[in-house]
Amino acid sequence: MGAALITVSTDTEFVHLAWKRDEKELAEVKYLMGADPTGNLSRMFGVYDPSSGLALRGTFIISPDGTLFNSEVNFYNMGRNIDELMRKFKANIYLSRKASEGCPSKWKDEGDKTLRPGPEMVGRVHEALNE
């Protein structure tokens, strides 16, 4: 989909290699595993936890022109779901082309209903969603 998925932790690239090699859950991994041992990139995105020296579970979606489209941080022990991520990613791609529309909560993929915010929708979101 023309996207670069990069995972990032404060581990070094050498530890990434060792983890990928040893953990069977990672057997199919093809994405780049980024090393941020200084924590500088984690700080840039506000996910550096100085008490542990580790990065929080942040997910950031950035458009090709460098605009931050989605910013999200999960609680420490909250795993992420690829379907949730893909829904947001697809919606961001769509909205980058159709800035005047809005993707409602149930939007999942291209072709699903979108909203066009304007005076006629004020107090009529229910009707707009169900027309």
């Binding site: 990069i6 995972t7 690239e13 090393a35 506000g46």
Partner: protein, 56 residues
């Protein structure tokens, strides 16, 4: 300790960055330049997590 770049919010431009990555397909280490990803017309998804050898 306030660092202005930690205030990165949606809608803002992400400053250029680079980092070293392990590429499991090529099985090598490589430099990733954000500017190169943008020049290639790619979306970038950054997926931070606390540590290797834990769940993600």
């Amino acid at each position: 300790m306030t660092d202005p770049v930690t205030e990165l919010k949606v809608g803002q431009q992400v400053p250029d960055f680079e980092l070293t990555a392990y590429n499991p397909v090529a099985h090598n280490f490589e430099k990733v330049h954000f500017a190169d990803l943008k020049a290639a017309g790619k979306w970038t998804i950054l997926f931070f997590y606390p540590a290797d050898f834990t769940f993600v």
